[in-house]
Symmetry: C2
Subunit: 281 residues, 2 copies
């Protein structure tokens, strides 16, 4: 039930009860109103060895927003059906024996579409994960081929973690700024032509391309992205229902320091003080 | 490859490079060493309308730890196969028409076992989600029946969000302290006999029962839980690889204030300052 008036009324009541704390929401822009009144076609890529939270961090929030706004979701992989999170056989370096990770647990998520059957997309999200290494070693370029083919039709392209490497391989980062998982920074740097890799950033926005740092950073990027799409409400109500206090400062990237990324900003505090969105202390 | 010595060596090198910041890890206790050297059987319950991040917040971390430690995972539902996150038809109150949420997007996760075929479990996790409301309205008690039946064999039982309501209905919270999602607090209070519901807590531990607040709080509880099971390393290395800065203060619960939970602690700061685990500023 998309009772936005009801939600806003409840928010107003809450604000009366906590008037000293609630920050007044920004009014929706015309673009945000238009987004709220149309259906957005979202695609999420999956591949064997995807990183679970790269997918379900942002996807939880998109799922939550689909209560309020019209969306469709296609989960897209080379072959539809259950896609394993367990990384396939791969080598961590050419001269090393294959890493057999078949002992790891194996959550599986359903892909509803193949690269061939995926519908027209407005928004495409690309996760990272160790599976990327296996794809590369098997000379399997289908994920980046799909990204490259769909890029012109997309309104937004987002990557989480080493999904940025896929974007780099597809060519769409040429001439753009981007970031990636800081623990895998050296691996990231070997990919992409004419990409400005930003060493300290929780996420980077360059035109329609949003790229986040590792895994959990996808959630912070997703909050900023949904805020851009739809505005503060009911997004902030939803965030406080799921009790996530997002990092809203994209320059906060202590992991670039922890992982000794060359050029990391060592003057920024390692700490970020976060709380419920829409409330000041 | 479970090269713990290699991991510790890398950590030591990192500490030399950032000696002013790295906090010395606590040595493993004998119990933690024993846990590291045995196989733990983990079960995660799924039901139609489960909350995605209730599952994949903790499950990402458990997945990550399964690289280092022997574990098995059973995802358990009434019927094995794809389980939809989209909530089934339900009423938000007895006198209201059914809420048809079939327009929401529908990520699906695979259940590998039924309640009947699930193996012996050491650890069982129970998510929340709107699906709980549908189960209750359909007089379907199979989830709490399973929890009740397996409780004696478990070493640990954990719930995320309104999964605590399932635990309450199973009877295992009798005489125990517990918490739940603060946005759904009124609904929680009507369940369970002789349960001490803690109004302000990110998570609560009572014996072998761990219960967290809403959705994202599951990740903070999971970090504390895995730390108890296995100790600081390589857990902290993993947390910094997935770039999640956990909330480690279980008394930080600003959402209990935001949602006007009776008895909430209004003196605690709404903000929590978090950073990479194992590093001080």
């Amino acid at each position: 039930m998309k009772d936005l008036n009801g939600v806003l009324w409840l928010q107003a009541v809450s604000s009366l009860l906590a008037a000293s704390q609630l920050v007044v929401a920004q009014p929706q822009t015309n673009t945000q109103k238009a987004n709220a009144n149309r259906t957005l076609s979202v695609g999420y890529i999956l591949f064997p060895g995807f990183e679970p939270l790269d997918v379900f961090g942002p996807l939880e929030m998109i799922f939550g927003m689909s209560y309020y706004y019209n969306m469709t979701l296609a989960t897209i992989a080379e072959t539809p059906g259950p896609i394993p999170a367990r990384p396939p056989l791969h080598r961590m370096a050419p001269d090393m024996p294959p890493m057999d990770l078949s002992y790891m647990i194996n959550p599986q998520v359903v892909a509803t579409h193949s690269f061939e059957t995926a519908p027209k997309l407005d928004i495409l999200l690309v996760p990272g994960g160790t599976g990327n290494v296996a794809l590369e070693q098997n000379n399997n370029t289908k994920v980046e081929d799909f990204v490259r083919a769909r890029f012109p039709e997309l309104e937004y392209l987002l990557s989480v973690c080493t999904g940025a490497i896929t974007l780099a391989k597809s060519g769409v980062l040429e001439g753009r700024r981007a970031t990636s998982n800081k623990a895998a920074w050296a691996q990231t740097q070997t990919h992409g032509k004419n990409v400005t890799w930003v060493p300290s950033a929780r996420w980077v926005v360059d035109g329609k391309v949003w790229t986040s740092s590792g895994v959990a950073a996808g959630m912070d990027m997703a909050y900023a992205f949904l805020k851009e799409l739809y505005g503060d409400h009911p997004l902030d109500t939803y965030m406080n229902n799921v009790e996530y206090a997002p990092h809203t400062d994209a320059t906060w990237d202590p992991f670039s320091v922890v992982h000794n990324v060359p050029g990391a900003n060592k003057t920024h505090s390692l700490l970020d003080c976060v709380g419920p969105v829409g409330y000041s202390e």
